[in-house]
Structures are given as structure tokens and as C-alpha cells.
């Protein structure tokens, strides 16, 4: 029962099969005839189901029935059963898009391109098949040197101007656990700093001869927006070799997966929030109308 709950008051938030579910209650005319607003969000979609019952347990029990229900109108966008005009919806949408576009135009570009590195590495067990962490990552010249940017025109996009053989600082890390590595690598060319933070670490292949690691992360270049990308590391060697070859690549081409800036998100959200606020206030005003 929802006695004592004020109209429009947010009541609870649930996590159901990794789907965020917000259970809200809005009033109609009396306390006994409440409208439970069930909204859920998954993969960027937000869907609202309405039901007129006084039993919250019944709503929760029937969640599986409600979840697949597709959105029917903009009225449920924010989880409240109000109606807004199509014109206002379009206006809000256009404003949001303009705001997002403006933010992107004003801000820096996203990073594109590939860059690769080569060198050597040592591992904590000395065996590719059983290793769980890098103990050192160095350059072609041996353990006392730094990894280098690979030449041969492998630098593309926003990395194209990085000179061949640029020295790179690599962080040693544990790949047995999926934990961020910040930074995975970093180097500087003149006044421009380049770096990459690994946000995930996954072993793709591991044997006596090979160790292949892959992950996602965020690339940084001075003057550019932070951009999501993928990274890979590979090593080879066998038979008790003291060190292993080390090759690494960072790819931001094709699918740069730019992360929207906070400014852009705010500019998109504000017009929508404003319309929602107006509609919610109107809805509350209607719900307080006495029943005859």
C-alpha cells in the first residue's frame, strides 16, 4: 500500500536483471486509487508502464510482464503519466540537439588514429603460460631502455606526426585481474602530451609461446577531447628465454567511441528537464483536484 505517500513522490529504485527500475507513485484522485509508474532503463532506452492498483507487491510480481512493454509515447519519458504536445516534444528535441552540436563545435576534436610500440618485457614467473603480471617493460635496447614508437608509417590519424622511435613510458601491470592501469603508456613530443589509460584488462590468449592481452581505455592528447579506444599487447618467446618480445597497439580509428563532455550532457539535459518540470507541476496540480 502507498498510504501516506505524497503524490509524485519517488518511492524506490530497484535493480532487476541489471536493469534499473524506478517505482514511483502518482496520485489520481484518492489515496486508494494510486497509479504506480514503473519505469526501467536499459541500453539507453527508458520505458514506462502504468498500472492502476494499490498493491506494490503485485506490480513487482508482474515486472517481467511490464519490462518488455515498449514505450508508446513521450508521456512516459520521465516516469510520469502526463501528456505533452508533439510540438513541445519536437521543440525540446531540437533544442537538445542544437545544444549538443554547439558543445561539440565549441569543444576540441576527438582523437582518431593508431599508434604502435615495440620492445621487450619480463614477467613475474618467467613463463608466458603461467605469468600474471609484467615486472618490466623496456625498449629494443634491453632492460635499461624505454619502449619506442614503431616506425614504418604505422602512426595514423592524430598520431601521424609522432616521430618514429619516440621513447614511451609503459606502466607494469597485473593482467590476472581486470583493473584499470593509469596510465598504460605516456610520452611527450614538444609541448604535446600523449597518454592512454586502460580501463579494462583481458587476457585474450595465453600459452607457452604467446601472451595476448586486450582492453579498453581512454586516450588523451593535449588539445583534444578524451576519447575511448582499445589497446592490445602481445609477447612471444619460449624455452626459458630471459625476456620476451613486447608489442603494443592502441587503436582509435574506425570507432572512436567519443565520450560526451559534461557540458554537452548538461546542455542536452536542461531543456528536457525544464519541460519535464513544467509537465510534472501541471500533473500535480491536476491530481490535487478534489473528487466529487
Amino acid at each position: 500500500m502507498f498510504r501516506g505517500v505524497k503524490w509524485g513522490e519517488f518511492t524506490r529504485r530497484y535493480l532487476f536483471n541489471n536493469i534499473e527500475i524506478k517505482l514511483d507513485v502518482c496520485g489520481k484522485s484518492t489515496y486508494k486509487e494510486s497509479t504506480l509508474i514503473l519505469s526501467y532503463k536499459k541500453a539507453g532506452h527508458q520505458v514506462v508502464c502504468n498500472d492502476t492498483t494499490s498493491s506494490a507487491g503485485k506490480i513487482l510480481k508482474n515486472m517481467k510482464t511490464y519490462l518488455p512493454t515498449p514505450a508508446k509515447s513521450f508521456s512516459g519519458l520521465l516516469g510520469h503519466p502526463f501528456k505533452i504536445s508533439t510540438g513541445r516534444c519536437l521543440f525540446t528535441l531540437v533544442m537538445g540537439l542544437l545544444a549538443a552540436g554547439g558543445a561539440n563545435a565549441v569543444g576540441a576534436s576527438f582523437i582518431t588514429g593508431d599508434i604502435q610500440f615495440n620492445g621487450g618485457a619480463t614477467l613475474n614467473t618467467g613463463d608466458l603460460a603461467t605469468a600474471t603480471a609484467f615486472t618490466s617493460i623496456f625498449g629494443p635496447g634491453g632492460p635499461s631502455t624505454m619502449p619506442q614508437v614503431l616506425g614504418g608509417g604505422t602512426q595514423t590519424g592524430d598520431y601521424a606526426t609522432v616521430p618514429d622511435g619516440t621513447l614511451v613510458s609503459f606502466s607494469t601491470f597485473t593482467f590476472a585481474v581486470n583493473a584499470p592501469v593509469t596510465p598504460l603508456w605516456a610520452f611527450t613530443v614538444g609541448a604535446t602530451s600523449y597518454s592512454f589509460d586502460a580501463t579494462s584488462v583481458t587476457v585474450a590468449y595465453q600459452s607457452s609461446y604467446f601472451l595476448d592481452i586486450v582492453g579498453t581505455g581512454v586516450a588523451h592528447i593535449t588539445g583534444f577531447n578524451d576519447t575511448s579506444g582499445v589497446w592490445e599487447v602481445t609477447d612471444t618467446g619460449a624455452g626459458g628465454t630471459p625476456v620476451f618480445t613486447f608489442g603494443a597497439a592502441t587503436d582509435l580509428s574506425g570507432n572512436p567511441m567519443p565520450e560526451p563532455s559534461t557540458t554537452a550532457l548538461l546542455l542536452v539535459f536542461l531543456p528536457v528537464a525544464w519541460v519535464a518540470f513544467r509537465a510534472r507541476r501541471n500533473s500535480q496540480n491536476r491530481s490535487h483536484t478534489p473528487t466529487k
Binding site: G141, G152, T234
Partner: protein, 208 residues
């Protein structure tokens, strides 16, 4: 009672065995020794497509100033220990799908000696979306040393369209039990037999 002739005959037989062993052992020592140890290389490689679709290496490189892959520092052991870090290595393009053996993979010269490797098998090709791993066996050759069996591996990584990817290679010599080792074991056995025979001879001489 042992006669002088029988004792002399046994001694001659033993002397013949020792002489034979010595001859074989000496000839073995005169032969080239097998190769031991491992070495790795780092650089870049061109393939005919992305790593997931490539079927052949079409070229190798490192940087503009160093046009070929180089010997990785810290990787040289055994017979390769004296190879200077950064030695330029000539890698030869080849097809791995299909693979035709024998295939000379690389060669270089250091200290007046020529080092080369010929692959005789390709046992494993693992073309993952962002990796290319090759592994097999072959024969390593170094001037003045006996050709020796070895295992080899190549690896590349990257998700771009290519053709250039970073490249790592490694070989490890896996010498088979040599004739020298066998002869050494045989000599030990021969020595044991000689000692035992000598003890029996002197024991019987005292008794007689």
C-alpha cells in the same frame, strides 16, 4: 688358473675397446658443437591484410633509421650471447597459409659469423581479431657450429587495417642428445668395466 695368454687376451680386448672409444670421442670433439640458447627480435612487419585475414608476411621493418627488425636486448643466451643488441636482421617474406617448408625465415651476420634459421614446420597459426601468432620448428645455423633443431614463434598485434604491425620473433635451440654425450656415457661405462676386470684379475692372481 688363468694363463698368461688369457690375461693378455683380455687386456688386449680392453685396450681395443678403450682405443675405439677414444677414437670416436676424439672425432666427436673435432666435430662442431650443437647450438644452444635463444634469441629474440623486435620490429614491425607488413602482412597482406588485417591480422585476422592475413595469409602472408610481405615485408619487415623497424624505423626509418633502422630498416629491419633488430636483436632484442637481453634476449641473447647460449650460442647467441655474443650477438650485439640492436643487430639488424634480414627477415624474409613468406606465406603461412599455405606454408611451404623448408622456408628460410631470417639471417644476420655478427662477429664474422653468419646466423640463419630455416623453418621446417608451422605447427600453430592463431589469427585472433587483433593478434597473429605463428609457431613451429626448424633448424638454426651458426658458422662453426652444428646445425641444431629449434622452435620458433612470430607474433603481431593491432586492430588496424595494416599493412604494418608491430612484430616480435623468438627462437630457442633444442639440441638433440649429441654423439659427444653418448660417448661420454660410454667412456664412463668402459671405465667401470675396466676397474671391475682389473680387480678380478688381481684377485685371481693372488689366489693362484
Amino acid at each position: 688358473m688363468k694363463t698368461f695368454a688369457s690375461v693378455t687376451g683380455r687386456s688386449r680386448l680392453f685396450a681395443a675397446v678403450v682405443a675405439g672409444v677414444t677414437m670416436v670421442f676424439s672425432s666427436t670433439l673435432a666435430q662442431a658443437q650443437p647450438i644452444t640458447g635463444s634469441i629474440s627480435f623486435t620490429g614491425g612487419a607488413d602482412v597482406n591484410g588485417s591480422l585476422a585475414t592475413a595469409t602472408a608476411y610481405t615485408g619487415f621493418f623497424d624505423t626509418v633509421s633502422i630498416p629491419t627488425p633488430v636483436v632484442l636486448g637481453g634476449s641473447q643466451t647460449g650460442s647467441f650471447a655474443s650477438v650485439p643488441t640492436g643487430t639488424q636482421v634480414t627477415f624474409y617474406p613468406f606465406s603461412f597459409l599455405p606454408f611451404a617448408a623448408p622456408q628460410t625465415l631470417w639471417s644476420f651476420t655478427a662477429g664474422g659469423d653468419t646466423y640463419s634459421f630455416t623453418a621446417t614446420s608451422l605447427l600453430n597459426v592463431t589469427p585472433l581479431p587483433s593478434y597473429l601468432n605463428l609457431q613451429g620448428t626448424g633448424v638454426i645455423s651458426i658458422t662453426g657450429l652444428a646445425n641444431t633443431t629449434a622452435t620458433w614463434s612470430y607474433t603481431d598485434t593491432g586492430m588496424g587495417t595494416g599493412p604494418g604491425f608491430n612484430f616480435g620473433a623468438s627462437i630457442t635451440a633444442t639440441p638433440e642428445p649429441s654423439t659427444a654425450s653418448l660417448m661420454a656415457v660410454l667412456a664412463l661405462v668402459g671405465g667401470a668395466v675396466r676397474i671391475a676386470a682389473g680387480r678380478r684379475f688381481f684377485a685371481r692372481a693372488v689366489v693362484s
